[in-house]
Homo-oligomer: 326 residues x 2
């Protein structure tokens, strides 16, 4: 049997964490954020505590882009899309004159994305549909096993946040099921989520396009159709979570306004833990709160104090950011 698991482990780097029983979060500086995580795990796993949560209820959800790995200078899936456009360009000479493809070929994202939803949808369909799920899986794995991050010159699979790998491992070892809940494409993440984050494909929730079951020359396959199925962002996140899991999680990590509804829903019960990763480290990663970009705070950051969401400053709370820098 062709085993996806085995394939994954061959092709992408698994970033090992250096946690210990003494300090499960060695890449975190002491402070409110680290303490909140440690305290939460302590209380929900202690059967004598009134806020004990049995293992069936230990579900943690994590946004991906900007929460588990870097989303700068552009979403990783956008880099994949740009490379797909380049690969497909020889079969589409008309793209040299046609938007949004002309702009994509010139790597001018601003123009490419300025066309509105119809153009963005077209970009996704041309690069992500019109093949079987198995073929798409293969395209993603081939790409992610060699594509390099433009700033760090490392594999994208290495541009993950070491403190968050520690969190995933810490939660898992305490009986939690970790789910990725991403606005990105579910089938873009599933092929490598186990190898990179230790999260199996069944624990990935994301945006999707429609698929269709068809038997071709006697071979059953799932074909990826050029039609949006579900957008797992904002209001869509609680819907996607409940649809996939059928339960309300007790922990949510996010970093942007797309995560507000997920955080709000998860933290509407007790016990629960909501954490926002704040990108405020221009030196080691990027600083791009809207505070600096547009003169105002992100909505999620404004809501945080009132909602008891813990703000994690990458600059102050994280000793190390990437696994490749000690």
């Amino acid at each position: 049997m062709k085993n996806r698991e085995a394939e994954q482990n061959k092709q992408v780097t698994f970033n090992k964490v250096k946690s210990s029983r003494n300090d499960p979060l060695p890449s975190w500086n002491d402070g409110q954020a680290k303490q909140a995580i440690l305290d939460f795990i302590k209380k929900v796993t202690d059967p004598r505590n009134a806020q004990f949560v049995p293992t069936e209820g230990r579900i943690a959800v994590f946004d991906n882009d900007g929460t588990l790995w870097t989303e700068q200078p552009c979403y990783t899936q956008m880099a994949f899309l740009l490379d797909r456009i380049e690969d497909l360009a020889p079969q589409h000479p008309e793209w040299k004159e046609e938007q949004p493809f002309k702009a994509l070929l010139e790597r001018d994202l601003k123009t490419a994305l300025s066309g509105g939803l119809k153009e963005i949808s077209e970009m996704i369909m041309v690069t992500h549909a019109g093949m079987t799920t198995t073929e798409f899986d293969k395209l993603v794995m081939e790409w992610i096993s060699k594509a390099l991050h433009p700033t760090f010159g490392k594999l994208y699979s290495e541009c993950v946040f070491l403190p968050m790998l520690e969190v995933l491992e810490y939660f898992k070892s305490n009986g939690f099921r970790n789910y990725i809940v991403s606005g990105g494409g579910i089938e873009f993440i599933r092929p490598w989520s186990k190898a990179i984050y230790g999260i199996p494909p069944s624990q990935v929730i994301g945006s999707s396009i429609k698929t269709q079951y068809k038997v071709v020359d006697g071979n059953p396959q799932l074909q990826r159709l050029p039609e949006i199925n579900f957008i797992d962002d904002k209001d869509g996140k609680p819907v996607g979570i409940f649809s996939n899991i059928g339960q309300q999680p007790v922990v949510a990590f996010g970093n942007s306004d797309g995560d507000i509804q997920m955080l709000e829903w998860v933290t509407s019960r007790e016990p629960s833990l909501g954490i926002i990763i704040k990108h405020d480290d221009a030196q080691r990663e990027w600083s791009y709160t809207k505070e600096t970009l547009q003169g105002k705070l992100d909505q999620a950051l404004i809501m945080a104090p009132d909602k008891n969401w813990i703000i994690t400053s990458m600059k102050n709370d994280w000793k190390t950011i990437f696994p490749f820098i000690d």
Copy 2:
């Protein structure tokens, strides 16, 4: 924290199986079907066997109605729907004259279902939508903890197939994750699947209506909308499985033509096991293959020999059918 798990265990009967290491399937008679199951588990769990499947790949999918519990004299969810209609009738005096509601109130299913898709959809929406997911969960649990099967006078949760409970337990103890893959409503099954089958809500795949996230008076909730989201039947079963799990299972159990595509997809790779439950026991359950009803075999039964799907005769292969009859 309000814990669904705890709730379940209080309200519905868990049917304990009497499996042992010597005989994991004591309710099965010796024969081809039992042997096929035992042989399959033996080979895929043996690391020295060429057909070994690592635990990540051990996924088994089970149709629900007619495969895990009886679907006669009508689908259990239809009985729930009829009771909901009766409960709601006082608020809808117009139903006395309006189809399909008039027929439903007279428990005349033939007329009620004769109206076509629009009427069937209307019946579902009126009884299953217009409330939050939490409220619907409560309605289902209240109903299933007291509604009695009309023929056996037992709780529906007791009208499960003991040989299949043994299969679920046997697979689980061999590292398999069991999934329900039902044409029925996902949120009708999830509230009790753990208590009755040992299958957690996240391992239930089914048909669904759309839900919407909304904050009402400061309380985040998911509202059930009167709109079909996904039909998990026939072609929809492989699509639903891949969407939820992201992997191709190695085992499929079904009993009707709605399970053909799922069986076909799952058994298109090796190793795999496809089993069809044949309802041929008029004495202890029902005999309703189309062979008897329409002078022809079900399509799934016709395809079985060519596809190497194992036909399980309830009459010959099952020593006991229901847990309440020894």
